[in-house]
């Protein structure tokens, strides 16, 4: 593990989406552990076991914030968290994937808590991208 920051898990129905997003986040903040899970055997979809493995690979006592692309990814992600075991610091962020993950990685890099990182990701929903 790189450090004591909150880790981030990115889940998408498409591997390339989260793979590319991880590249972006690593450039923005290299000190945060990021895991990805996307696609099933080169097809579109999500897989609970793959998500669980990704979660395990970055979990620390500081916690993990999970971001996902489309609603059905949440079902497998919840299953994965259940398989991983209870009483863990894991928060699902109800956030747009790219903007939320960007806000989350910056907050995590500042050494903030898992709740603060998740809140930053969720605040990205309010972001106005085009100025008046």
């Amino acid at each position: 593990m790189k450090n004591n920051n909150v880790s981030i898990l990115l889940i998408s129905h498409c591997y390339e989406i989260v793979s590319g997003l991880k590249n972006l986040l690593n450039q923005v903040q290299p000190d945060v552990n990021i895991a990805i899970s996307g696609g099933i055997h080169d097809e579109i979809g999500t897989n609970a076991f793959d998500i669980k493995n990704a979660l395990e690979s970055v979990y620390t006592s500081n916690g993990v914030v999970i971001l996902f692309d489309l609603g059905s990814a949440l079902i497998n992600a919840e299953l994965a968290v259940e398989m991983f075991g209870g009483n863990k610091k894991i928060i699902f962020a109800d956030a747009p994937l790219v903007e939320g993950a960007y806000a989350a990685v910056v907050e995590s890099g500042l050494g903030n808590t898992v709740e603060e990182v998740a809140n930053a990701a969720e605040s990205a929903k309010q972001l106005q991208k085009i100025s008046d």
Binding site: L24, Q27, V28, Q29, E99, Y102, A103, V105, V106, E107, G109, L110, A120, S123, A124, Q126, L127, Q128, K129, S131
Partner: protein
Amino acid sequence: MVEKDILVRIENGLHARPAAQFIKKIIPFQSKVVFALGSKKINAKSILNLMGVSILEGQTIRVIVEGEDEIKTLECIESFFRGQND
């Protein structure tokens, strides 16, 4: 409170990576930092606020800093926007 117009000399402006670096640099300061861009004022210590505005290379922004360490904070911001980020 200190105020200064600062020219942004960061190559390609304050895009994703430098915005994150900027936040990391100024968060340790106690002072409140506001960027005034035209009629818009934003809290420059919020990454989401920085994401919501486009700060371009060659643009001049008004920086307003208020707090006990305002002089040092402003110096840090000036140095950052000069493109001296290392």
